[in-house]
């Protein structure tokens, strides 16, 4: 059952109506949509909620979600008022996804654009193979985060787990806390004015006021793994 609350907000109860109906309705929204605000109640850890959106709608999910929430998101602004399961905002293209709680493994994986904000902790493989997405995590991130990250930014206000940025390409990583270990070909890099500026903007976009760009260290690629080195042939 859906109810109209005011003129703009529409509430969808996943305890009453199936997920497929919700996602179909959300997919029907267009740029000039007259239904710009959505509230989803009773998600109860369900999978693939608000996946594949392609319109500038605002979606608030009241509770925790399971696998692949807000995957492939384009233009939409999705807020999860709870925690998210594996693969939140996977392959996001644009728009904004905010998780008020924690996110499970591979948050923002392969994302190509947009902003993903995780207000709690993210577990392993956060931003794996990211390709242009910006990810801001207020808490800590787990091991193997930004593995093979190609472009975009990963900002972590807390600590990073083992093997950060393993086999990284050109993504930029900023960590305020401790890094347990760096992965292969990932090194600490100089924080130049243009990095300070980019980071300051990202923190502002994520609504973070209690952290300064100067408190972070930058990590990125040593660019030693880009091409096969014949001297390493014996290793295979």
């Amino acid at each position: 059952m859906q109810q109209l609350i005011g003129d703009l907000m529409r509430t969808f109860d996943l305890a009453q109506s199936p997920l497929r109906e919700l996602n179909e309705e959300l997919h029907r929204q267009t740029d000039g949509s007259n239904q710009p605000q959505w509230e989803i109640v009773n998600p109860r850890g369900g999978h693939a909620i608000a996946v594949g959106l392609d319109a500038p709608v605002k979606v608030d999910i009241r509770g925790s979600v399971g696998y692949y929430c807000a995957g492939m998101n384009k233009k939409a602004s999705v807020t999860v008022h709870g925690s998210a399961g594996p693969g939140v905002a996977e392959n996001m293209m644009s728009g904004r996804v905010v998780i008020k709680g924690d996110a499970s493994q591979y948050a923002g994986a392969t994302g190509r654009g947009g902003l993903l904000v995780i207000e709690g902790n993210a577990s392993s493989r956060c931003g794996i193979s990211m390709k242009g997405i910006d990810i801001v995590v207020k808490g800590n991130i787990g091991h193997m985060s930004a593995f093979m990250a190609q472009s975009g930014h990963l900002v972590v206000l807390g600590d990073a787990g083992d093997a950060l940025g393993d086999s990284i390409y050109e993504a930029q990583l900023f960590v305020r806390g401790k890094v347990k270990s760096l992965g292969a070909d990932c090194i600490e890099k100089e924080m130049r004015p243009e990095h300070q500026e980019a980071l300051t903007k990202l923190l502002a976009d994520a609504g973070i006021k209690d952290a300064k760009a100067s408190e972070f260290r930058r990590y990125g690629s040593a660019r030693k793994l880009y091409n096969f080195n014949i001297d390493n042939a014996d290793a295979y």
């Binding site: 109860r44 369900g46 709680g101």
Partner: protein
């Protein structure tokens, strides 16, 4: 894939609801493991008596025959309670070895699922909600329980291949993942006197923990050791008479989420399994860290 659910009650007042709550949790994990399902329930026990959970593919016939045999032996003081393909045989603990020997000699089609003062294990091939219904899980009570829904990868879909596995008194283990060194480890454990019923990788993990605990380690310490000796993917949830433990391998690709309140500790492969628990909105909910042993004991 596979699904795991576990519930350890801290508040004894909730014990009558244990089966009902676990049944609800298990029903959310059906698509993670539609092949077979099983659960271990730590229920009431009597000091000095041991419960033997039995299973048979020809249950009606076997259990009737067993009942008749028990009726003849008045001195034994045994009680048999049947539930579908399973039955719980309660015997004085000092007669356990004798009873097990008789069962093995005279009832070759009866299999032993578990032994212990409190533990009962039920598992069968079939859709998890159907399996739970067959054994009337929702009316069981107890202090803690562990359930599993199986999508088979390493060995056949059979009753014995279903989880939980028990290889020691009041001990059980369920597993999501796959072990890669189970064959070599099984050979080592066999050399050290451990017995195996299947080709299943999880049985090796259960046996490994039992073997470690026989060396004097507690469950928490045995789980720590498993991180060094087991190779592969695993989330384990284990039960002992008084304890409940969780461990994830270092790679931690198998999903896990936990919740704790003043009343209980709960484990689920996904949050869906926890969503129906009382007070979940106020619970501490977190993803267990890799290579970290979590262990509760009453």
């Amino acid at each position: 894939m596979c699904g795991i659910v576990g519930l350890f009650l801290k508040n004894p007042k909730m014990e009558p609801q244990l089966g009902q709550l676990l049944s609800g949790m298990l029903s959310t994990m059906c698509e993670r493991g539609p092949d077979s399902a099983g659960f271990a329930v730590y229920g009431s026990g009597t000091e000095g008596r041991t419960k033997i959970t039995l299973q048979s593919a020809t249950a009606a016939e076997d259990f009737a025959k067993l009942k008749a045999a028990l009726a003849k032996d008045k001195k034994l003081d045994a009680q048999l309670t049947t539930r579908d393909t399973h039955a719980v045989l309660s015997v004085p603990s000092d007669k356990l070895d004798e009873v097990l020997a008789t069962l093995s000699a005279d009832f070759p089609s009866i299999r032993i699922m578990a032994t212990g003062e409190n533990i009962e294990i039920y598992k069968e091939v079939g859709y998890p909600t159907e399996v739970a219904k067959r054994f009337d899980l929702s009316h069981m009570s107890g202090s803690h329980a562990i359930g599993h829904t199986r999508m088979a990868t390493e060995s056949a879909v059979t009753t014995l291949g279903a989880h939980p596995f028990s290889t020691g008194a009041d001990e059980c283990l369920v597993h999501n993942g796959s072990l890669s060194n189970h064959n070599s480890l099984r050979r080592e454990l066999i050399r050290d006197g451990m017995k195996f019923n299947t080709e299943n990788d999880t049985e090796v993990a259960a046996s490994y923990l039992t073997w470690r605990m026989k060396q004097g380690l507690n469950l928490g310490e045995a789980l720590e050791k498993s991180l060094d000796d087991l190779d592969g993917f695993f989330n384990f949830v284990v039960g002992t008479k008084e304890g409940f433990g969780v461990v994830r391998d270092p790679i931690a690709c198998k999903p896990a989420v936990m919740a704790e309140t003043d009343d209980y500790v709960a484990f689920g492969s996904e949050y869906r399994a926890l969503a129906g628990l009382p007070g979940i909105d106020k619970a501490k909910v977190w993803e267990p860290e890799p290579s970290t042993v979590y262990f509760w004991q009453r």
